[in-house]
Symmetry: D2
Subunit: 332 residues, 4 copies
Amino acid sequence: MIRLAVIGAGLMGADHARIIAEELPGAALQVVCDRDATRAKAVAEAWGTEAASDPEAVIARKDVDAVIVASPDFTHAPLSMACIRAGKKVLCEKPLSQSPLECRDVMEAEESSGGRQVMLGFMRRFDQAYVEMKAALDQGRLGRALMMHNFHRNVATPAADFTGAMAITNSAPHEFDVVRHVLGCEYTAISAFQPRRSDALVAPVVMVLETSSGQLVNIEINNNAAYGYDVRAELVGEAGSIAMNQLAYTSADHAMAQARAYEADWRGRYAEAYRRQNRAFLSFVATGVFPASGSSSWDGYAAAVVAEAGVRALKTGQRQPITMIAKPEFYK
Amino acid sequence: MIRLAVIGAGLMGADHARIIAEELPGAALQVVCDRDATRAKAVAEAWGTEAASDPEAVIARKDVDAVIVASPDFTHAPLSMACIRAGKKVLCEKPLSQSPLECRDVMEAEESSGGRQVMLGFMRRFDQAYVEMKAALDQGRLGRALMMHNFHRNVATPAADFTGAMAITNSAPHEFDVVRHVLGCEYTAISAFQPRRSDALVAPVVMVLETSSGQLVNIEINNNAAYGYDVRAELVGEAGSIAMNQLAYTSADHAMAQARAYEADWRGRYAEAYRRQNRAFLSFVATGVFPASGSSSWDGYAAAVVAEAGVRALKTGQRQPITMIAKPEFYK
Amino acid sequence: MIRLAVIGAGLMGADHARIIAEELPGAALQVVCDRDATRAKAVAEAWGTEAASDPEAVIARKDVDAVIVASPDFTHAPLSMACIRAGKKVLCEKPLSQSPLECRDVMEAEESSGGRQVMLGFMRRFDQAYVEMKAALDQGRLGRALMMHNFHRNVATPAADFTGAMAITNSAPHEFDVVRHVLGCEYTAISAFQPRRSDALVAPVVMVLETSSGQLVNIEINNNAAYGYDVRAELVGEAGSIAMNQLAYTSADHAMAQARAYEADWRGRYAEAYRRQNRAFLSFVATGVFPASGSSSWDGYAAAVVAEAGVRALKTGQRQPITMIAKPEFYK
Amino acid sequence: MIRLAVIGAGLMGADHARIIAEELPGAALQVVCDRDATRAKAVAEAWGTEAASDPEAVIARKDVDAVIVASPDFTHAPLSMACIRAGKKVLCEKPLSQSPLECRDVMEAEESSGGRQVMLGFMRRFDQAYVEMKAALDQGRLGRALMMHNFHRNVATPAADFTGAMAITNSAPHEFDVVRHVLGCEYTAISAFQPRRSDALVAPVVMVLETSSGQLVNIEINNNAAYGYDVRAELVGEAGSIAMNQLAYTSADHAMAQARAYEADWRGRYAEAYRRQNRAFLSFVATGVFPASGSSSWDGYAAAVVAEAGVRALKTGQRQPITMIAKPEFYK
């Protein structure tokens, strides 16, 4: 039985606690930690476990084998570093950091520790739709990849003061990462565009990325799409194309229309992906072998570099080159 | 230019007049005839042609080359007979007659006239979906046919006193005919079932038909489906299956759902089928060659025999055999 | 931790062992039992647990809290009885028995034991599509239910000597049960039909069932559908309709067609339903409260009665009444 | 009866001849003209009409009321000018000209003639999908428009030496025009991108256009998509979205997949749009009133300006402003 600590008891941390308790045999939810003790307690009690409020202390506990970090974004890198220092494997929610430099600090700490310690929560790599897209490509059924078209739509932004830059740094990294994973290459340039809304809400951001293999990647981040939570993707190859379907179990015929419901957020759509990801993390903890589809510190660095260039592209209205350090041997 | 008379200026007659005027080069709408002179005049004026009220006189006119009969059902056979006597080809709306005997009278008159004169308005044979189903079967892509599932749903019945028997005699013949056409065989037995509604409206009728080649044909006639006009069909073979899609040009994402609109009646869905059918009728008039996919007096007789047995099956609650005369050489 | 024994190490038993080990926190796979010791050992070793070959002894073990029965059909009732005698809750794969009388024996034993002990593996009740259909009905969005159309298609029969009667007794019970569950009523009559195949394979069986509330239920069981594993269902109400969608994560555009893959069997399609069902069983074991959507011995009896009448309907070619004993207070 | 001349007897001219003969009552196919007399004769004979080889002479004929120009692109503007001079209305296939200056010459000639004479063959404005998209927007169901996503895919280029610039000047104008029509605004800037193919075929071109109302328009032109003829479009508004469906009459279940066929070219997909467009042209000829959804010389000029800027954007790799003259009163 692997004893896990969940750090952060917000929406995502609570969901990780639930996944461990309800869907992850072989794992025990040892402790739930949040700076806000009330929040920690509420989640801990729901699953009959212990609450705590000091993450560093929790990471150090002898009865904690591994850690899931789902606390606020700015704590991700420091807490991952603490896990590395404690010699404990960590599943850290994305982003590792919005600063490429801070990501490199984590990479260096990890490399110095002598082995892989950090897995990032880019769960889409485990989603069946992307798995099928990658398989179609790898098996040669589409010919060589030419383009990916990606659409990320939320009902509404979490906060009213959400900006286009935040669409790039907070929402787009899921797209940046999964596309890199499916295509197996890095980005070399990014352009960003934004239409105007008639109200005060943040408008969609449309990005065109170029890759080292000569592909184009189009990404729409529409955080105020209003009509539903809706993620779409299409991979276009030289010989054919593969696209994600809208998933709904039923269609209703009523009042002169046939309708399929959208969900309000990502939890239903990616429930299976989280399950698979967290099972892969358990296996990582148990065996020390980094999961084949897992996202590493290097992938966190890549996402940060792209997001940073994307923000620059949006602000300047100019196509921006994307420059990354050479991939360390350690991450190959 | 083939000069056509349209007899009957109701919904269907008016649509035939429109098709001739707007979509059928090579045909002239010579006269529109209805016992109700006002109705005839309204349709005739819409297309700048002449109105009349005596169908027999219209059929006899020298400046009328061929006739489309879209008057009330009970007049179909007598008016078709009048056309045969006048030596004029007729496109007669279904049913030819609800009486198999009266259909046989038409068949005999037609045969005595020495050549084919009567084409029936079972336009679904010209609908692309059924054309593709028949082609898939004939080309062997499905293996041998095993079953057809057919669903016929209207928003509401035209009249409040519509009965289950009328569902079988008025709505089901389209299904009876097109299935015979696609499968290329005759029916040997029919069973009929009806659920109970909680209100005074006519409940759906579900029929199971057996064919001479050992297939099963399931037909649901749901005249008060409420949600939209919706016709569905699936042909199941030993090696695969083919089904009609719901046709809609667009889907709308709104208010937490993705919706496709249904139409209120059949006119949009079968516009192309009517166009093709009426073009085939023109060609029949011009060349004397009966169209390959056309529905003949024999097909009208077959529909009448099945409907009669279906009503018996519904009333008795017993499976009824379907017995037809041998197919005359003339119709082979 | 609830310690479970799995009895039967065939396809279904092996899957239950996997579900416990990989997806069911709170449960321990204590022992895997099969008359065929080699088979038991293979499954037990895969999950690092113990193998056994005597089911009665396994049921009696003190370190077994509850039992999952997935052995051959004829053993279901006797082993469930053994569980009842041992005071252990059992999740028994369907059918409870093909004999209504034997089902009644189980019901009596259960009632005598003073509390609910038996849950049946009709997992479709936990499938999201049926959950949505039932919710739409219960919330009044469809108006009163009129009909259900159900299609059950397998790629091929497990054995070459599969018969139409076996389609009714082995495959159809899933449909019989889930429809009763969704509609909330009992069957009163059944008719059965069968088309002819051109080869030696078993032909589809088409059934029309009538319910105590006046609904019609149409069921096609097509065990040699060839093209894929495909289950469909539609619930038609007086005000609208709801249908199960074909679920596929992706669509591929290739070679002049857009294609969605079918699966080869039910395990992918119903993975989530099994997970939910087995979690509900654990909760039943832990709390003693029978799950709201669970299938009981009574439901097993109902399925047996319907199947028996269905076989009679198929053999006689006559509509058969369905007569059940009054529902015992114990099962209400 | 309006007597039409068709100039150009290639693929598109032959189709116009067929539409007139088979689907356009009120029009007579008076003459088919092509510089290649053999080609002209073949099409003319198919419909029992006269052939000619001198377009200027045909335009001048007294027995020709109006003209359809479907000859090579570079002849469109001169022949349209000839029609204006002859006082005959012309339906000219797109593009009017690839030169904005030449388009302005036509506009000036038309304005000098005192009335509208030129309608362009941007038939997509008459396609039901775009009609529904425009209606949804105009009726306020989507809120204000934010983006359009457009995908234009052909099986293969007509010629092996097709270039990215030709994708912009030959294929994209359909997208440029119909988006302007649906959104009701003009473009202000264009960026263009191109992935690399592994072979000698022309790669797709991806464009991002900005409009005067602050919308973004994304267009993919993929002339070697290989898998089928496939046009897609989505209009995203502040409150919802509407998208074109893939239209196919049937789906086939076979060999572990459900498949819908793609067509090889645009003729099936846009048959109804051509019919509606050509009927609108007849009405224009008959009444002198320019059709509400018709595309004018001004629209031809707009398409040429955008295409020219698009080619510049592709060649320079820089976002290009789009500058048009003020819209003449004559075209408002």
